[in-house]
């Protein structure tokens, strides 16, 4: 028994230590790369820091950047927990964005009705975009990876078309949404020197709690995880496997749709024709995996990710190309994924110590 308890407490400890070590290693490798390419890593990192935390404005922008990443991270993590790989968060973001703005533009209502309605529209649109691959997976067994990839492109083209021919008269950007549908806040903006920070971060954090609650506390979460682990046993136990697969994709899509809502009702207040993907969905994959597919992990990973990405904007002032940050993030992910080797090394060190 004693043995077991020790193992689990070790597990918790490693759960904290491994990411920290990984981040440090990532930064060290980043420094080495900077030195190798003739830059001063101290200047580089100072710039990175300033880019993310220089003043209230940058902090506000950093939070703004983190917000949708939390949601796409949750979306992908949620699907993963059910054994599904949702590469389609990207498309779900796009349709969520579009739907939220659509409602934001076309309805006239007081804020208490308008804003929730617009938010909901985005979540539903994202959910719908997840429903299709979920349905095909459940009923016909079509691999969700292909369908979600295809749905991304469809989302982009359809959204562009709707912006152009439904929401505007052949223009590339819609009007601003009514203020009754906006997540923006004078107060937050005045606090952060007109950054685009908006109340969406509360939605994102709330979504993380929701996901935690669904997955860990509800019978639905129990079923979803069971289906992810073992379809046959789930069927034996009387669960509706197909329903769970579809539901999982729908919920996942709804989270991603909410990420689009953040952009549509918060950051931009409109929707534009896009010529390429937002990358929110793809970055969400990294966030989810870095966060070990659990809600708290996703929030932390999104923070790390957002801070580094936002900070990167300042790095050229030290002469360092912004892409250094991508390299650093990739290396952090590698080390987290290869935590086995870090554990192994730590255990070695511990043993030697004794």
């Amino acid at each position: 028994m004693g043995q077991v308890i020790q193992v689990t407490s070790n597990k918790k400890l490693f759960g904290i230590i491994v990411p920290i070590i990984s981040v440090l290693l990532g930064l060290i490798v980043g420094a080495i790369i900077m030195i190798a390419s003739g830059h001063n890593p101290i200047d580089g990192y100072k710039a990175l820091w300033n880019g993310a935390f220089y003043d209230a404005f940058t902090i506000g922008e950093t939070i703004r950047r983190i917000t949708p990443l939390i949601l796409t991270g949750l979306a992908i993590a949620f699907a993963f927990r059910t054994g599904l790989f949702n590469i389609g968060a990207e498309g779900q973001v796009i349709v969520g964005w579009l739907a939220a703005v659509w409602v934001g533009l076309s309805i006239d209502a007081p804020m208490v009705i308008h804003l929730p309605l617009a938010v909901l529209a985005g979540a539903i649109a994202g959910g719908l975009w997840g429903f299709i691959p979920g349905l095909l997976k459940a009923k016909i067994g079509v691999h969700e990876v292909i369908v979600t990839i295809m749905m991304n492109y469809i989302a982009m083209f359809v959204s562009n078309e709707i912006v152009r021919s439904v929401l505007t008269e052949n223009s590339t950007t819609t009007d601003r949404i009514a203020s009754t549908a906006s997540l923006g806040s004078e107060w937050l903006q005045s606090l952060t020197f007109y950054s685009r920070m908006h109340y969406g971060f509360l939605i994102a954090l709330f979504a993380a709690i929701i996901m935690w609650f669904i997955i860990e506390r509800t019978t639905l979460g129990y079923e979803l995880k069971a289906v992810g682990f073992n379809k046959h046993a789930s069927k034996y136990a009387g669960m509706n496997v197909n329903k769970n697969i579809i539901l999982s994709m729908v919920i996942s899509g709804a989270f991603a749709g909410l990420a689009g809502v953040m952009e549509g009702l918060g950051t931009y207040g409109n929707v534009s024709v896009i010529s390429g993907f937002t990358n929110l969905g793809f970055d969400g994959i990294a966030v989810a995996l870095l966060g070990a597919n659990n809600p708290l992990g996703v929030v932390l990973a999104a923070i790390l990710f957002g801070v580094l990405k936002e900070g990167a904007g300042e790095m050229p002032s030290a002469g360092v190309p912004t892409e250094l940050v991508d390299i650093i993030i990739a290396i952090i992910i590698f080390f987290v994924a290869s935590s086995y080797i870090i554990r192994w090394a730590l255990q070695r060190v511990k043993k030697e110590g004794k």
Binding site: G38, H39, G51, D55, F57, T58, E61, R64, R65, F157, N160, R164, N170, S171, T172, T173, F193, Y194, S195, R196, T267, Y268, G269, N270, S272, V273, S275, G276, T278, N279, E310, G313, E314, P316, G319, V320, T322
Partner: protein
Amino acid sequence: ACGGDNDNSSDNSNNSNNESNGDTDSKEGTENAGDFKVGMVTDLGGVDDKSFNQSAWEGLVSFGEQNGLTEGEGYSYEQSNAKEDYVPNLTRLIRNHYDLIYGIGFELKEDLTTIAEQNKDVHFGMVDEVVDLPNVASITFKEHQGSFLVGVAAALKTKTNKLGFVGGLDSPLINKFEAGFVAGAKSVNPDIEVEVQYAESFGDPAKGKLIAANMYDNDVDVIYHASGGTGNGVFNQAKDIKQNDPDREIWVIGVDRDQHEEGQVGDQNVTLTSMIKRVDVAVESVSTMSLNGEFPGGEQLEFGIEEDGIGFATTNSDAMTEDIINTVNEWKDKILNGEVTVPATRDELKAFEESL
């Protein structure tokens, strides 16, 4: 007035942002602008996009050098890697007390508007879009005029009477290119057909190549592209055909700047001409106005042929023969003296075609 020659040199001069070459350059400066600071925020293309970001930056560099400014301090740019970078980039310049800030490209309109509303004491230049604020000078171009001229050139060059137009995103801006081009071609010969396709992307060379392959296969012999990186595929396809069949007469018309270089294949060149948008001229002139205290705030400056803001390239002298240049110039004069009003939208184009 074709900008083709200064492109090559500027490619090299602005290409390193880590080692500032401002020190040596500033000595050449004739006057000193004191602590005047001017910056620009690129859209997703970046200052080396061989397109209007690059052109704008060349304008700033030229302005800076002439006024003894240092790169990175007196004049600089902020590169955007994603849509969400626009605001932080604009703000970074404001925080560093820039006096004049350009937003390059229509995508920045919304964000620049917001920031300009919040910073009424800072001057802004909005390139390619119109922002109606007292502290913003809107700089737009009459791309349809330039497109009209290259349309004329294409019509003179084509042997099959079939032309192609490849657009990036189907948007009012790119429609302007389309309308001008079609109008120009049909003005020369109303029987000319123009095949129009949009790739729905400025960065999909594979699609560009597919579209070009299809067009050239359908006897189109001149393609005008207004599609950024997608155009790479168009050039690629034209060059490939040329390489295999050097005698086949097929052409590409470049956009924004002289794309002669892109058309080189062996000792031949498939770039017939390019529609040149002198963002550099515009940026430089607005900067100068601002330095001299004549900032055209709240105004919409439309750079066209007249303002020397739009032109066409004649670098490929083998293809752009004297005759063609002369005819194009005749049409240019007609535009200048108001004899021809070039359509800028599809609706205007329809009317224009009916009037032919």
